[in-house]
């Protein structure tokens, strides 16, 4: 069993309530931080912990905090990014739904470190029932003196508000989130200025993911150095992985980043293997935006080393032969899945979610969807595959925000690793309508029956 820092108490009866959470040691980190540490010391501990942002980018959280501008007389804001929308990702939902006080506790500590007296949780609009759970937890924290004026007699004032979005993936991008929180369309801003200097209402702002803020609780409790001892290299601490697709046990798992991908997929402690006795074809290991990998490159790196469930190992080989940890949305595809169809649904997703500000993304995502739809429905031409490649190249890096890249990468990786499946669709327009390509020859190191 791996070490658990976040979900350890998830199954304690009544842990959603303040009373049980407190009895189980909750709010200890608030007491420790507010009573015995200065705000800068809290930031220092988070820096020492090596905690990397858990939303997808993996940027060191302590460093992000230390960039926050602190001009005299200007309010500063902490915003919790709970706009979890990356296909394959449902870990923040789990945290908020079952351990709301863990997030509230992390938010209080982080608000103290950053000097935020008004802190917002921006939650995706579809998680409507979780708003009630969080607001209830906030009310309990207020009633017990952990929020409000003069918290624990330290003179620190803080209030947390929950803001519901209304259905827009783009609002997970921090500047789009800020725009949305200001009551506008979720159009990302050009950076710089970064939110740390000019964020919410033009004030210095830090935006952190739910899991990142929850991780602040064990970091303060055990100390940054102790936290950094868990995991490996620059992948410190634990990470929540939401596993889905064709596996026996979909769900949210906390891993300590020292286990292999193979163990994660096949051991009963985690995914429990591929469902229905099928074989593994491919996997998108970090949410829909990261490159899809065929089974052989997923389980082993190009150098033949065991691939591990951590930031470095998952990205080993770059985009040529590797992928990314991303948001921890682990999507497993079995031998019966069609990579073209899967890529089409993702292209449609990005077309739907593009905010429309930048032409390469607004137009390109629509073109990619259209071309993929043609290939999938047996109307594709061989030149379409190269055209897709060309379009994704022209989106990547040419947009204000990373949504363009996120739309380009899944298409690029699918063509890179599964080109013969795309070609098979083009060459077999009739057959591809009633059966799938099956397991690719390169997707399994063992001899497999010829399926195409």
């Amino acid at each position: 069993m791996g070490r658990k820092l976040l979900l350890e108490k998830a199954h304690v009866e009544g842990i959603r309530t303040y009373e049980v959470y407190r009895r189980e040691g909750g709010y200890r980190s608030v007491e420790k931080a507010l009573k015995t540490m200065s705000p800068d010391q809290v930031t220092e501990e988070v820096k020492k912990s090596g905690l990397r942002g858990r939303g997808g980018a993996g940027f060191p959280a302590g460093m992000k905090w230390s960039f926050l501008a602190k001009p005299e007389g200007v309010p500063r804001y902490l915003v919790c990014n709970a706009d979890e929308s990356e296909p394959g990702t449902f870990k923040d939902r789990y945290l908020m739904e079952f351990l709301p006080h863990l997030l509230i506790e992390g938010l209080i500590v982080a608000s103290y470190a950053l000097g935020s007296e008004r802190t917002y949780i921006y939650i995706r609009g579809e998680y409507a029932w979780i708003v009630d759970i969080l607001e209830h937890a906030i009310a309990e924290a207020n009633a017990n003196g952990f929020l409000g004026k003069n918290i624990l007699g330290t003179g620190f004032n803080c209030q947390i508000y929950v803001q519901r979005g209304a259905g827009a993936y783009i609002c997970g991008e921090e500047t789009a989130l800020i725009e949305s929180l200001e009551g506008k369309r979720g159009n990302p801003r050009i950076k710089p200025p970064f939110p740390a200097v000019k964020g919410l209402w033009d004030c210095p702002t830090v935006v952190n993911n739910v899991e990142t803020l929850a991780a602040v609780v064990p970091i303060i409790d055990m100390g940054g150095e102790e936290y950094a001892k868990i995991g490996v290299g620059k992948s410190t601490g634990t990470k929540l992985i939401s596993a889905c697709g064709n596996i026996n046990k979909p769900g949210v798992y906390e891993i300590d980043m020292t286990i292999s991908v193979e163990e994660f997929i096949y051991s009963d402690e985690y995914c429990g293997g591929i469902a229905n006795g099928k074989r593994l074809k491919a996997c998108i290991p970090g949410g829909s935006s990261v490159p899809i990998l065929p089974a052989n490159l997923l389980l082993k790196t190009a150098k033949g080393e065991q691939r591990m469930m951590n930031y470095e190992s998952l990205s080993d080989g770059g985009f040529a032969t590797g992928s990314m940890m991303g948001s921890g949305g682990f999507i497993v595809l079995d031998e019966d899945q069609c990579v073209v169809r899967n890529t089409l649904t993702l292209a449609r997703f990005y077309r739907h979610e593009s905010c429309g500000q930048c032409s390469p993304c607004r137009e390109g995502t629509g073109w990619m969807e259209k071309i993929l739809k043609n290939i999938e429905t047996g109307k594709g031409k061989m030149s379409d595959i190269d055209l897709l490649w060309d379009i994704q190249r022209k989106i990547e890096g040419n947009t204000i925000c990373p949504l363009g890249d996120a739309a380009a990468w899944p298409v690029a990786a699918a063509i890179r690793h599964f080109r013969d499946e795309f070609e098979w669709h083009v060459n077999n327009p009739v057959e591809s309508q009633h059966r799938n390509f099956g397991l690719a020859h390169y997707a399994d190191p063992l001899p497999v029956p010829v399926t195409a």
């Binding site: 579809e126 409507a128 009551g183 939401s242 064709n246 949210v252 998108i284």
Partner: protein
């Protein structure tokens, strides 16, 4: 004419107070949710203008937001809206079959409403329930691990609730 009750106006005031003075525009998205819930599940031009007047902002500021976010219905919808996810992780678990089954059962296409005004079918993009696929949103909650039988049960349950 659309009009919030006193209780709802109090709620609007509460929302506005979450933000610093003069930043009441931030209340727009939450207040639009409230308006949609109150005024029949969708936002008419009249509702949008009403929200603009409440928050003392220009109607155009409300229109541009209402047209951007996918949760706002700008046309009337049925009493119950089935919003079935169809993105990759749900697709691999058979969401296409669920959509087809709903179409056949209710005799409507995507973005259509049954003649009795009870059901609307919509397809949506990832709602963050990938591990519990296939799924749909129904009002405030998610219905997960959907099967054809489960869908039939939900339809029957809602018809009973509506007294049909």
């Amino acid at each position: 004419m659309v009009q919030f009750s006193d209780e709802q106006l109090k709620k609007v005031q509460e929302i506005v107070e979450r933000y610093p003075d003069g930043k009441q525009k931030s209340a727009l998205i939450p207040v639009l949710h409230l308006a949609q819930e109150t005024f029949g599940g969708w936002l008419s031009a009249e509702s949008l203008d009403y929200v603009a007047s409440l928050l003392k902002i220009e109607p155009i500021e409300v229109y541009e937001v209402a047209t951007f976010y996918s949760m706002y219905n700008l046309k009337p919808v049925g009493r119950y809206v089935f919003e079935v996810c169809q993105t990759g992780p749900c697709m691999v678990k058979g969401s296409d079959d669920i959509v087809d089954h709903i179409k056949t059962t209710l005799g409507i296409g995507v973005n259509e409403t049954t003649a009795d005004g009870l059901f609307t079918l919509k397809t949506v993009e990832c709602l963050g329930a990938c591990g519990y696929a296939p799924m749909m949103q129904l009002g405030k909650h998610f219905r997960e691990h959907l099967t054809k039988e489960k869908v039939d049960g939900i339809v029957a349950e809602l018809r009973a609730k509506a007294g049909n």
